[in-house]
Point group: C4
Chain length 367, copies 4
């Protein structure tokens, strides 16, 4: 694991642009963002673990599923609205938790939270944010959740939960797949550490100029199902367990109090060689009660991917790296335009597949 070897560095400079982007598709954003984000930070954002097999598989695996359209369905424009854990969204899209949006843009999470909200997508504020969660909440005009890296120090966990609730977050996302950060080789090659100028105000005494491995030292290392119960009890909010890939694991989480499951492999950034999220999704959907929403992140980049995930049982779909890339390139309006592009693609997929509403998107619409 990469450990910080030096804390001396010149001041960090990244995106300051503000404005909607001219987007042909989400893939294009990566190359453009590479020109704006400093090399080490870009490697951290883009990279996966190990051979990046899972990273690549996350998007490739959508090609294993074909959409089966039904024409002449007799409706006009499809309706993309959903309700999830009590919140209404214009689109079944969300920003999954990612560390340090300050790496991409001077507005950090304030920009991404505002952009996503303005586009009607859910925002998930995260433990490793570069601005206080209250600021994130304030910037975001819509429904929001809070993601928790569970700390060794229960007091910190309690405080974070209470702050999130007070700030208006309506669910706690509990990340379970990062007890140990995995080897992300780009970071090792770049000797990447978080810039000193970017702090993590949610974490008391967070080290500065630290690597992810250094930061990870303060996370609890022996997470258990009891921790779900703790979060549910402390918060009184629905708990979304994030990072699951197997049906039995999901079933047990639900039995221990999870209100929703987020299928994810951390964007191919933790254990490499695990299945693509879209591959793992159907088994988990089948394993849990239909009342338990199943979300998915890791891999989707196209409106058709969102459609495929919903047809396989997902209630909403998270889009990570493109959020940071569009944030780097255009701040909040950049993020908003990225989500609007994706929404337009998704709506086109609904229209052409013959689904007038989200409820119409069922298993029979994909192979």
């Amino acid at each position: 694991m990469a450990r910080a070897q030096s804390s001396s560095q010149t001041s960090y400079e990244t995106g300051t642009a503000e404005g909607p982007l001219d987007i042909i598709n989400l893939y294009d954003l990566e190359a453009k963002a590479r020109e704006v984000i400093p090399k080490g930070a870009f490697g951290y954002i883009r990279g996966g673990s190990g051979d990046e097999w899972t990273l690549k598989e996350n998007t490739r695996a959508f090609d294993d599923r074909q959409i089966l359209p039904r024409y002449l369905a007799g409706f006009d424009a499809p309706n993309t609205e959903i309700e999830i854990l009590g919140s209404k969204l214009d689109v079944p899209l969300f920003v999954p938790p990612m560390a340090a949006h300050g790496l991409a843009h001077v507005t950090a999470e304030r920009g991404s939270a505002k952009g996503a909200g303005d586009a009607g997508a859910l925002f998930c504020a995260q433990t490793l944010a570069n601005v206080p969660l209250e600021d994130i909440a304030k910037a975001n005009p819509g429904p929001k959740w809070f993601q928790l890296y569970f700390m060794e120090d229960q007091g910190v966990n309690r405080e974070l939960i209470q702050r999130a609730k007070a700030a208006g977050c309506t669910a706690i996302v509990f990340t379970v797949d990062l007890e140990w950060p995995d080897n992300r080789e780009a970071d090792e090659r770049n000797n990447f550490v978080f810039p000193e100028s970017l702090t993590f105000p949610s974490i008391p005494n967070a080290p500065v100029g630290a690597s992810l491995a250094d930061l990870g030292d303060i996370f609890k290392k022996d997470l258990s199902f009891a921790d779900i119960e703790f979060i549910a009890r402390e918060s009184g909010l629905p708990v979304v367990v994030k990072g699951l890939l197997t049906p039995d694991n999901a079933r047990e989480c639900v039995a221990r109090g999870a209100a929703a499951i987020q299928v994810s492999n951390h964007g191919g950034r933790q254990l490499d060689t695990v299945p693509a999220a879209i591959t793992a999704l159907p088994g988990i959907v089948e394993a849990v009660d239909p009342d338990v929403p199943v979300l998915l992140d890791s891999g989707p980049r196209r409106g058709v991917h969102v459609f495929q995930a919903l047809a396989l049982g997902a209630r909403a779909v998270g889009v990570g790296r493109p959020t940071l890339y569009s944030l780097a390139l255009g701040g909040a309006p950049g993020v908003q335009s990225m989500f609007e592009t994706l929404k337009e693609e998704f709506q086109l997929a609904m229209k052409l597949a013959g689904c007038a509403s989200i409820q119409d998107i069922t298993r029979r619409y994909v192979t």
Copy 2:
């Protein structure tokens, strides 16, 4: 969706050559046509939607099927004649509807209609033609059909149907997969609009210098099965529903009056990630009554592809882009030579597979 941003453009110049082509295979035509057709128009003709997964899959999927030849069948030259919806053809080939042949050649649809007819293939005149349908019909020496983009304005639909019938078209092809034009990224990158010098005389008040999205605004957006009944009733002609990919959808169309089904994904130009036409074909053939002809376009480029499609149950096979490429390169005689090349390849496949007539080409001849 690309919208026209400017209507000012210099006059459009494209192919004027007239003469048969020296064709090794149909794939070669693309590179040659690229030199003749202006960039934006070429991108419009060649391009597909999204990642072009379906576009590529349309041809690749033929590799999933191998021909199983039976030698010593004891006949001389195979007979390629067929009858479909009352028309006799020398070859089971047709030109599927494609917009704006004027992009490829100064003779526009007159050239392609004549070239296909001279080679014994069926021609499908289309709504978005650059010459009046009567002129297309006059240029074409053989059987012809008319393709209808269903308009919001029922009066226009009625008029088009009656003109087609009067001009000698013997079936109406009802395109169901373009209520909304999909994102074709080449067009977005090229800011492609149809040249002002090319008009669409079949459409009253069609905008000039328009993008496909602009044109699409006048199409009916909530197509339904009842529209099949309308066309059948108004025309008194057989209705071919074009663009279907699922068995249940095809079955319902037949129940509502379709006389034939055209399996197609719009050449990979509408919803990306749908199955290849050849992949969707067998399920649809099995789903509908054997008396209902099933046609196929999207992907075939080889005589063996035509053979494979027929062995899987297609009655005739449409070849789109190569028609426009050969039109660009040689006008009507160019199109004729392209179809003759394909016929020769197909006849060779029949001969070597051991099929003396079209009726002999059955399911046992492909894996």
Copy 3:
């Protein structure tokens, strides 16, 4: 089909080298032979039909089968001898019929016949040879067969059969998959015709400076099962039907008098998109009586390929293009060294797989 457009050409010059080759593997021969054989002729020898899908698949498909070795079998060196249709061979290898060895070397079929025979492999003299079949027979020290392209003129067929028998050929190989020569695009691009200086002495009045299509005009176009009976009756020799790919076709040939079946797709030079020979083999082996030998050509280049084919039921394996390449590079000793290299590889495969004799190589040794 390529037709000769001009008969004027300068005199043809090709390989004259004589001597054993330093061979690492058979694949390497292609690049070396390309430097010796004139371009058009090399294209003719190397090329396949259409997209060359079957040509490539012929060798690739061996990768679908893995050898399953059994160690500690307690024997020393394996014995590679076989008996087939009454002939004993040192190795289960043969030269399948290929036209015009004079394209590769001045000794033409005399060189390849001697080289194969000196290595203990069977040679199949062919109708389109550049030297009289009696000369081929004289040059070849071992067992030999004769391949017949069945002519329209029965008198010619009778004469060829009798000459072959008189020259010591012990079986007639009846090629059934070339009633019409397929499009080989390299030949079309090169306008390839057989050089005037190379004649086909077995064919009365063969055109000079002719393309394969021209030559093919004199072949019978409506071959039937009755032709097997004719050859068997006229020759009194076993008839090997060459070019079959389906079980029912093979079964019927045996019912009509075939003594052996040669699974082949003409080296990927006739109908493209048919299965690889190794893929078609097991079904045919299962379909015919175990007493009927099944041979295979088209694709094998490695000793492990020979082993795989035998494990799947082939009695002997033909190696075509490498024969012509090694002939071009070293005459008879070149061919001999090629077969000795292949024999050494094959014997190594037998040894390591744990098979002491050809009879030991059974279905359980491959996946």
Copy 4:
């Protein structure tokens, strides 16, 4: 097979560096080692036989298996200790037998034996070592085995077995897949012979400046199951039969006295086109009694590969070429750092998969 053509050569020079390596992953070592090891020797170490299909497949086949993690398992750091054939190891890793470590580093097997032992991995001393086995044993601080190439001369076999036992080796590894060395084409192209300056002190009268084929002349050529019994009887030690790929072969070895099975295809250096070791593993695990340890070498390069192999039933995993590469680059400390990197990766895989101990790693953790 390559035979030595000349014994004259200048003195051999290879790695002399001593020190731990900065390792991102094991793949990187190959390119670095290529710069240190002379060309012929590097070709010998890296190369496989034939088309190197099995060599490549050995690592690729791990991609056919995905790890299925279970989070929230409630433990801290995983324990990687195992016991095998009475020996305790810190990690389930070993150095499989490879000839001539002197090709990589001046310390030869002394360096690799020390480095592996210092990292807690098992070392297998081998017949074709460049230093006496007693020196290897002395250099190695941990458990060790001895690999035997069975000689024609039973006296030599007896002596080697007794020396190994006396030196503290606790098992004899009997290699069964090299009665005849296969064609390794890199060696043929390089005319590789072992340098005269590197001797094989375990083999009486070993030829100097010899190829592997020359050396192989003194190996017994008709190995049989009785040889297992001989080794067991002479040594009184457990016999590990190395090189098996089929269940029936493994079962018979156990019936004849094998105490353990080592699934291996000699690193893709013997019969090409056999299955990858990881592909062959599950069938063999199922075929033999659960008390019989099954080991695996050939292909693993990642901690996740080690995890996958253990989940499929392997007790320990051998890593060959990376040992020689790290030896070349850093002597004993280089080897130690390579194994420590691999251990760290493996431990991370255990942690994230949710396995607290080796016993926890069962079939349900991979697809």
